[in-house]
């Protein structure tokens, strides 16, 4: 069976290590030939299975990275298809550029667990492992989804919304025009339509060109400080931010929102959120704060869980412990300047990383920041999912742009509107996918909400 060619970064994304970009499918050698320049004139499509070549990845006339390229020939590969692995040396940002070169040269971004799925479907794994395959797929997709959702905030998301709203409006106009020809509707002005199309195309083009792979890395590790009210979360936050006096940005949310800042600790940037206390409440406004805190916790890559040295654990503490059990967590025991009433041994069974501090006396903060740096450099904090989610969105944006460019060509050629509609629909579908939504009912709803149609 003919299969599409897929590509993905298959190693954890950390600075410093070697990262591998993997491709599988019918076109891998075509793509590799396009983007790989060997130092000793080896051509991937001519190479035997299980051999490698040293060289450079070149895209758009620019050398992206130095790498080793390994060739696998079907059926002797992980997936059973033709495969190429590119081991990159240049760090997180450059590895993404290499993947991007693969994608722009004809590969599709692999879905969650797709390499494993192909291996399975091609009989490279025995049937008893199907369950394990399913686990991988669902775990990967869940992680991606989480990150994708976390990207759905802020300025980028508003720009995407604007594009999506305009496309839906245009489609609504076209649908009403096609499906209700006898209604007393405003005429569709061809020049106006052309202008609207080229305006959205400009927006999408801009989105594509500025869609930044590096954003997540530069923005840092999503870190959340959690704990009951008054355990000293805010003091800790202030301590951390003041620590190196290198606050990158600071924006206080509304009173209900989590307060966020970016701080830099050595090589690591943390996107730090101080949240409303996690506790049950009847107060509506506070309740909203608690919800935000829980969402932040769910999406966090690093959790700093603060407990009070001077009080025994209560039910709420235990509930919090349960919630952070499987997260990447540092237990921070604050107020060591007070009398100890906390059984610290409780934590030791379940958590590896425990630090005692006195935030108000600024004691132990050094130890904490060192621990964070250590965890990061050891690869405990992984960017991969964030990057994949980000790339998926970028690919959608590129596809949307291509579809709209075709629509523009069709419109300049005076093709009939039915053709135009299909192309715009394709673009809107990609944008909807980027947002994790589906398109179909949107347009119909748009028609009925904006136009007075019907017999």
């Amino acid at each position: 069976m003919k299969s599409s060619t897929i590509a993905a970064i298959s190693t954890a994304m950390m600075n410093g290590g070697i990262s591998v970009v993997r491709m599988s499918g019918d076109k891998v050698f075509d793509i590799a030939d396009k983007i790989f320049q060997s130092v000793n004139d080896k051509i991937p499509s001519k190479m035997k299975g299980y051999t490698c070549a040293f060289g450079h990845i070149v895209f758009g006339g620019e050398i992206l990275d130095e790498c080793v390229l390994t060739v696998f020939r079907s059926p002797k590969s992980y997936t059973g298809e033709d495969m190429v692995e590119i081991s990159c040396h240049g760090g997180v940002y450059v590895t993404q550029q290499v993947l991007r070169a693969c994608l722009m040269s004809g590969a599709e971004l692999a879905l969650a667990g797709e390499f494993t799925k192909r291996a399975f479907l091609n009989g490279k794994m025995d049937l008893t492992r199907a369950e394990a395959v399913i686990d991988i797929i669902s775990a990967d997709s869940e992680n991606e989804l989480k990150y994708a959702n976390s990207l759905h905030e802020g300025a980028l998301s508003r720009r995407i919304d604007t594009i999506s709203t305009e496309l839906t409006k245009i489609l609504g106009d076209l649908a009403a025009w096609a499906d209700f020809p006898e209604e007393d509707l405003p005429e569709l002005d061809d020049n106006m339509l052309k202008k609207r199309l080229s305006d959205v195309l400009d927006d999408i083009s801009q989105l594509v060109s500025t869609y930044d792979y590096g954003k997540i890395i530069r923005n840092g590790v999503d870190t959340v400080i959690v704990g009951k009210p008054n355990v000293g979360k805010s003091t800790l936050m202030n301590n951390l931010s003041g620590f190196e006096r290198s606050i990158v940005s600071e924006f206080a949310g509304t009173t209900r929102d989590a307060v966020e800042e970016s701080i830099r600790l050595g090589n690591v940037t943390l996107r730090l959120s101080d949240t409303a206390g996690m506790h049950s409440t009847d107060d509506y406004v506070e309740g909203v704060g608690v919800k935000i805190a829980e969402k932040k916790l769910e999406n966090a890559e690093l959790v700093l869980a603060v407990f009070d040295y001077s009080r025994p654990l209560d039910d709420e503490d235990n509930e919090l412990l349960y919630k952070i059990m499987n997260k990447n967590t540092i237990i921070v025991i604050n107020k060591t300047d007070c009398e100890c009433r906390l059984d610290i041994d409780i934590f030791k069974d379940k958590f590896e990383n425990i630090v005692e501090i006195s935030a108000s006396n600024n004691e132990g903060i050094n130890a904490l920041t060192e621990l964070i740096e250590k965890m990061f450099s050891m690869g405990k904090v992984n960017f991969s999912n964030g990057i994949i989610a980000n790339q998926r969105q970028w690919i959608c944006a590129v596809n949307a742009k291509n579809a709209l460019e075709n629509a523009k060509i069709a419109s300049d050629d005076n093709m009939t509107y039915d053709i135009l509609t299909v192309l715009i629909e394709e673009a809107a579908g990609e944008i909807a996918k980027l947002k994790g939504e589906s398109l179909s009912e949107n347009v119909v709803n748009e028609v009925f909400s904006r136009f007075c149609v019907g017999k």
């Binding site: 799925k117 686990d135 025009w177 020809p181 509107y417 039915d418 007075c452 017999k455």
Partner: protein, 623 residues
Amino acid sequence: MGSYDVAVIGAGHAGIEAALASARLGCTTAMFTISLDQIANMPCNPSIGGTAKGHLVREIDALGGEMGKAADKCSIQSRMLNRGKGPAVHSLRAQADRVLYHSYMKNVCENQPNLHIKQAEIAEILFEDGTVCGVVTSLGAVYKVKAVIIAGGTYLKGRIHVGEVSYESGPDNVLPPQKLSDCLLSAGITLRRFKTGTPCRVHRRSIDFSAMEVQHGDETTVPFSFKTRDIIENKADCYITYTNENTHRVIRENLHRSPLYSGRIEGVGPRYCPSIEDKVVRFPDKERHQIFVEPMGLDTDEYYLQGMSSSLPEDVQLAFLRTVKGLENVEIMRPAYAIEYDCCDSTELKLSLEFKKISGLFGAGQFNGSSGYEEAAAQGLVAGINAARQIKGQQPVIFERSQSYIGTLIDDLVTKGVADPYRMMTSRSEYRLILRQDNADLRLTPLGYEIGLVSKDEYDALLDKISKIDAEIERVSHLNLAPGDEINAFLLKNGTSALSTGTKMADLIRRPQLGYDVLQQFDKNRTDLASDIREQVELQIKYKGYIEKQLDLVERMKKLEEKKLPENFDYSAIKGLRLEAAEKLTKLAPSNIGQASRITGVSPADITVLMVYFEQNGDSFYA
């Protein structure tokens, strides 16, 4: 009282197609209707077709259904809508003579071997071990049957509302069945309440047509049916007038008397078919609303006022109509009304239109939550085909989205479900460039032949048509045109660039400013081809790139559609499916992976999990 293979409940547009299909496929069929005088009644618009609905009629015809032929026989005005807007959205619409349509269809049914028409209300359906086994009339007659198709339209527990008054009734004041709903409920079928409405019928002599815009039929008409050879004549005109500020004032002053605004109607109405009071309230800035004045037939003086559906009291209806230009002295013959009725939850159906829970029980038409004669007829045809196939021990025919509007309609109903009466629209089809009304026969007649509703002669005629189209496309694709003064002058005059090198005829046809017919003078060897063949040649050449792109999509989807899923399966048993996906999949029980992928709340990752899971279980799940 007797036994039949199939019982069809209802003799409206769905019931007729269902009964005819079943009988034509060799099953003994009984069609029950509360009144023989209501067979194929048009209780609303006296018209067939319209945007996307015209596509449905063509598809029904291509498959061997009756609606297209009937519409051609009874047409009194014919128009192709959306001419100039692109072939995908061309839609045929005809005014039909309502009484003639009824008697034509009644006659066809009466003359159909295997089909028995009975005036009776079905009060009960009998079941045995979750399978249909008989029907009982309200007079107590029992018939043994193997399958039942419910095509009850808007009749089930129908209730008509006019202002403060409401009473139990089906459309046109026909008795509504009361007991069938209870029988269905106790069989575990979910019922819900929908609502629709119809405008007044008024007397011709009370209308001042001179104050209105006239709307003629097309000069050159096209029939619905691919088999109709007669020329469709325009025998009547329609007229257009508008509401005004006074009309809206009268309506606004009387809103409190509407059963909708006082909350007496609980049913959900169709969004595309709002009452005039709805339009006035929802679009207060619109200065006027359009009214189409349409004849109900040639032998009657009744006129239908499209756009003026209402449930306001009769005196208010008269008052607001008389504010309209040309209707100052209007005389109402039948008042407008809203009607509430029971319908099923279409997600309880399979793509074959059989209920998932009960073997042998099928639903079709407005009972399934759709709206419109054409949507009803399409479902009736499919239910009739599949009931007959079940009795004959054959696999059901599933119409795919990529193959027809019929498939799109059914998939929308079954997979997505509906919140208000569903109307077909071209915007609902993602494949609309290939699902055109002009090629319905090319798409579906082979299937109709395979099913057994299309005769060998008709099928051979289609094959002949296809070979002529292909040969001509082949010929013009190779025909080279050299540059020359004559052709270049012609090209420049038509607003396109002159030739500098030899060019293929097909490439010229593809240019937006040109087409097949206009290039005849430069094509000496052209044979005289029928207009439908010339049309196909032109469209297939002109839209080649776009069509191929859609065909590519179809291919991809087809791979997923081919992967069948089990009927009764508890998806929560699959570890790794998200909870929401598992619940939706278990509830909707999709019949294949493609259908599963269209369910809201099922993600691409869930689909991957499904594929791996069922692959593991080997071919027992893959057909």
